[in-house]
Structure formats: structure tokens, C-alpha cells
């Protein structure tokens, strides 16, 4: 669990940190769209350069992102291997009943890049945005959904409370586990059923404690006059700065470039040559 960087915040001061959370949310979406639109090396080269530039600007150490990738390693390996062997096409190597095809390799590489960039891109967003900002950004960006009777404020409030209590509950899980081990509980050996049963002494107290905390928190929020999103003011109200507007322009440029490269390459039919 400790390897997951999505949802963690890296406290420092950078251009990226200072951007409005809505800009970053939107940027992440733009980035994801560009990832899935692109289907050739040149496009990925452009994306890589842009991503590297954002990474540099964000001052987030690259090591931290690599750590985050460890969490998806198995998924990554699995999907890459799957693609290498199972995509039909021009056969390059044949081993027993498996065949590696040129298309397979290409697909595998692209899929790998997409997965890795997807994790890096979303991690970058959460690493540079405090959970509160993120919730605020979501709340404001999704405000139109209020008209559809979707309680956007409540959802984002729950999100930010969840983020606050995750570390507390993790610590508590450790503590209860140790306490039950001291009473001879065994969480590590035995078959699936036995292990599942061994979790009861862990989950019941954890659940009871979570409920107790929830009641306490509800009381604390009520005494501080919390009555939902209606009529609330903000210490840090979101309003776009010049830099945010500029960033939106950069997004537009970026999208046009990705689209353009796509079109041009297709138009000139370079693709077939590249893999001829």
C-alpha cells in the first residue's frame, strides 16, 4: 500500500503547485485524451517531452514517481506480455505454440507507455495538489451537476474526510493486528478460508472504531455549525489567475499539436513506411 503515489501530496512550492486545481484536473483529462489518441512513436515523443517538462517544473523527484509505478508493475508486465504474444500479425519469432508479431510488439510498447504515463500523469496531479484543493477544485468544476441533483459538495467533503482518515485507520489496523498477534492470532499461515477467518478479529474492531470515529466527527462538525455546502464561504476561494488562463492556452496548443501530428502522419501515410 505504501507504494501507491496516487493520492499522496508532495509539499513544495512550484509553478505547478500554484496552479488552480481545476486547471490541473482539466490538464490531466487533456493529457489522458492525448495518450489515447496517439498511436505512433512521434506522438509519444511529443508527449514525453511535455510530460518531462511538467515534471521538471513541478519539482517532484522522479524517484517518487518511480516508486508509484511499482504498484502497477504486475499489471504492466501482464498486459505487455499478453499483447506481445496474442496480437495477430506478421510473425517474427515462433516459440512452441506462441508467436511474437511485429504488431504485438508495437501494441505492447504503446500499451506499456500509456499505462506508465497514465500513472505518472495522475500521480503528478495529486502530488502537486493538496487533497483539500483537489476537493475544492472538483466541487467547483462539477458544480453544474448540482442541477441534476447530484450532491457535489457532499461527495467532495466525503472525499476529503476519507483522505484525512485513511492514514489514521491504517495506523489503527497495524495496532490492532499487533494486539491480536500478542493474543496468538496468526494472520500469515493457512489456507484461504483460514486466513479469511483470521481477519475477523482485525475487521470487527476496526469497523467498530471507524463507526465511533464517524459519530465523533459528525458531532464535531455539527458543533462547528456545518450545515452542508449552502452559504459556506472559503478561506481559499478558487479564482483563476493569469497563469491559469495561460495554462489553458497551452492545453489548446498541446491538443492541436497532438491532433496535427496525428493527421499529418496519417495524411502522408508515413505509418506504413515506418513499419514496412
Amino acid at each position: 500500500m505504501k507504494n501507491i503515489t496516487i493520492g499522496q501530496y508532495y509539499p513544495t512550492d512550484s509553478v505547478i503547485h500554484r496552479l488552480d486545481p481545476r486547471v490541473k484536473l482539466f490538464g490531466t483529462i487533456v493529457f489522458l485524451v492525448s495518450l489515447f489518441l496517439t498511436d505512433h512513436y512521434l506522438g509519444y515523443a511529443v508527449i514525453t517531452v511535455c510530460l518531462a517538462a511538467v515534471l521538471k517544473l513541478s519539482k517532484v523527484p522522479f524517484k517518487m514517481l518511480l516508486k508509484g509505478l511499482r504498484g502497477i508493475l504486475i499489471l504492466l508486465l501482464f498486459s505487455v506480455v499478453f499483447n506481445i504474444f496474442l496480437v495477430p500479425g506478421r510473425e517474427l519469432v515462433h516459440i512452441w505454440f506462441l508467436s511474437i508479431t511485429a504488431e504485438g510488439i508495437r501494441r505492447a510498447i504503446f500499451l506499456g507507455i500509456r499505462l506508465v504515463y497514465l500513472v505518472i500523469g495522475t500521480s503528478l496531479m495529486t502530488l502537486t495538489t493538496t487533497p483539500t484543493d483537489l476537493a475544492d477544485g472538483l466541487e467547483k468544476a462539477l458544480r453544474p451537476l448540482n442541477k441534476l441533483h447530484i450532491p457535489v459538495h457532499d461527495i467532495t467533503m466525503m472525499m476529503s474526510i476519507a483522505l484525512r482518515f485513511i492514514p489514521i485507520l491504517m495506523e489503527e489496523t497495524d495496532k490492532i493486528m499487533m494486539a491480536q498477534k500478542a493474543r496468538g492470532a496468526d494472520f500469515e499461515t493457512g489456507g484461504l478460508l483460514k486466513r479469511a477467518k483470521a481477519l475477523i478479529p482485525l475487521f470487527v474492531p476496526l469497523f467498530v472504531s471507524a463507526i465511533r470515529r464517524a459519530i465523533d466527527l459528525a458531532n464535531a462538525m455539527e458543533t462547528r455549525c456545518y450545515q452542508g455546502g449552502e452559504g459556506r464561504t472559503k478561506m481559499h476561494p478558487l479564482c483563476y489567475q493569469k497563469r491559469d488562463k495561460r495554462t489553458y492556452c497551452i492545453y489548446a496548443g498541446y491538443l492541436i499539436a497532438i491532433f496535427g501530428i496525428n493527421r499529418i502522419l496519417v495524411a502522408f501515410q508515413i505509418l506504413p513506411f515506418l513499419f514496412a
Binding site: 490492532i176 498477534k181 500478542a182 496468538g184 475477523i200
Partner: protein
């Protein structure tokens, strides 16, 4: 029966920016039928220390010997150590999970693989010892009062019949009545069951009254390990690490300026009363 810590050190998150030395070169020997208190500032390493004693946490350096055998040796059976060294965590009532009191206390002995009869016998004995009446055995532990819950949780560890019982702040959050009941229980276990009990406390008044040996931790070091009176004689040094002596010690100390004399340092109200009576005697 003895546990010996030899040059034990423990470092959190070694080789990262969060690296922290929780224990440094701790040497301790714990023998049969002792009553030991551990005091220290929050973060002095008290909890980490006691979690070493039953092998829940592994020292980064040093060795722990149980009856002369190193518990970190590959052929040492750690589960047997956990049975002999019972550890009651802070707020142990938060670990109750069964639907009734009796089954919850049975959890420990059951994990030891004992016979059904033996499990029941031990649970019953443990519950009797902590003063939970039979009428509560089949009640949900969640319906009991705070003090009762804590006693049931202690019974859960006692039922494993440990030779050493260690409790991390057993009186935290209890009112004076609940606190006295738990401390009396601990003292009883020491005197009647003849086991070794160790407890962590923040109350100087409590340790002065209840323990025979006092271990003081500061920044992961054992700085005193002696009878309470000898430790409290260093009250000026204790203050420098954020601790102090019982209130009464200071009161009697001040009266010395007016002619009160004591043969040794006073740490309880009863002793103080005698000292004053002697002073005023013609």
C-alpha cells in the same frame, strides 16, 4: 524464567528521511515475580521497548535472550514467547471483537491449541481474576462500561497464562475509581499469581505507590533502573527530561527548611504523614 535485552537498538524507517532511533543500546534483565513500572516522555521509546519483549518488533541491533536463548535465532519458536510474555496494548478494549465476553477471552487460549475444557477453564479463571461476574459472561462486550471492557480485554491476555504480563498505559482514560481498580488488579497478579508485571505509566503518584522497580526512558536510552525511591531522589534530573517526582515529594522537601527530617525520600502520602507526625512529636 528471565528476559534479557542486550544492547538492543531499534531504528524506524532506517535509511530514509524519517529515520528515527526509538531505542539505543538498551540493556535490561527482567526476572521472576517482579513489579516494574516504566516511565518516560511520549516518544521516549516506552511502547517500542515493550513490543520488543514479546518479539512483536524485531530489534535492528542487539539480542534478546529468553531463558538464555536468543529469540532471533532461526530455531526459536516465537509463538511460544508470545504465550509466556503477555502484552496488553493501550486502550485494549478496542480489540474486543467476539459476540460475547466469554468467547472473547477464549480467543487467546484457543490460538494456543489447547483442549476445549482447558480453554474454558482458563477463560473462567482469568475473568474471575479481573473481577468480571459470571452473569456477564454471555453478554456482548460492547454493552459493558469502559472499565469493565478494559478488564475483559486484560483477561483475554491473562487467559494465555503468561509468566510476564506487560501493560501499555493500562489506566489511560479511566477515572480515579477505574484507575485504582486496574492498579489493584495488577498488584494482585504480582502478589497472588506470582507473575512478573510490567506497566507503562505517566503518573508518578501511581508508580510510587505500586511498583518495586522503576525504569526511566529518555530518547530511547534507559537512564534509571532502580527502586522508585532511588529514582525519585533524582527528581531534579527527571525534571530536565520532562518528568517529575510525585507532588508530595516536593511538599516534604520544602518542609525540610523548617526542620522536618526524613531518613529517606518521601514518595507517598502515607510516608509523608508519618514524617510530619514525627516532626511534630514532642
Amino acid at each position: 524464567m528471565a528476559i534479557e535485552l542486550q544492547h538492543v537498538s531499534y531504528t524506524y524507517s532506517q535509511d530514509t528521511v524519517y529515520e528515527m532511533h526509538a531505542l539505543e543500546d538498551v540493556n535490561l534483565k527482567i526476572g521472576d515475580n517482579e513489579c516494574i513500572g516504566i516511565i518516560g516522555h511520549t516518544g521516549s521509546g516506552k511502547s517500542t521497548l515493550i513490543q520488543h519483549m514479546n518479539g512483536l518488533v524485531k530489534a535492528t541491533e542487539g539480542a534478546i535472550l529468553y531463558n538464555g536463548k536468543n529469540i532471533y535465532d532461526s530455531d526459536f519458536a516465537l509463538p511460544s514467547l508470545r504465550r509466556r510474555v503477555g502484552l496488553v496494548f493501550q486502550y485494549p478494549e478496542y480489540q474486543l471483537f467476539e459476540s460475547d465476553v466469554f468467547s472473547d477471552v477464549c480467543f487467546g487460549p484457543k490460538n494456543l491449541g489447547l483442549s476445549e475444557d482447558e480453554i474454558r477453564a482458563r477463560a473462567k479463571k482469568a475473568l474471575e481474576q479481573v473481577g468480571i461476574p459470571e452473569s456477564l459472561y454471555d453478554k456482548s462486550p460492547f454493552l459493558l462500561s469502559g472499565g469493565q471492557k478494559r478488564r475483559v480485554a486484560i483477561a483475554g491476555v491473562l487467559a494465555m497464562e503468561p509468566e510476564i504480563l506487560i501493560l501499555d498505559e493500562p489506566t489511560a482514560g479511566l477515572d480515579p475509581r477505574g484507575r485504582d481498580a486496574i492498579l489493584t488488579l495488577i498488584r494482585d497478579l504480582y502478589e497472588k499469581r506470582k507473575i512478573t508485571v510490567i506497566f507503562v505509566s505517566h503518573s508518578m503518584e501511581d508508580v510510587a505507590r505500586y511498583v518495586e522497580r522503576l525504569i526511566v526512558l529518555d530518547h530511547g536510552h534507559v537512564i534509571y533502573d532502580d527502586v522508585p525511591k532511588a529514582v525519585f531522589a533524582h527528581y531534579k534530573e527527571l525534571e530536565q527530561i520532562g518528568l517529575r517526582a510525585p507532588q508530595i515529594t516536593y511538599a516534604i522537601d520544602r518542609l525540610q527548611a523548617y526542620g522536618l527530617r526524613t531518613s529517606q525520600i518521601v514518595t507517598t502520602v502515607a510516608e509523608a504523614k508519618n514524617a510530619v507526625l514525627e516532626w511534630f512529636a514532642q
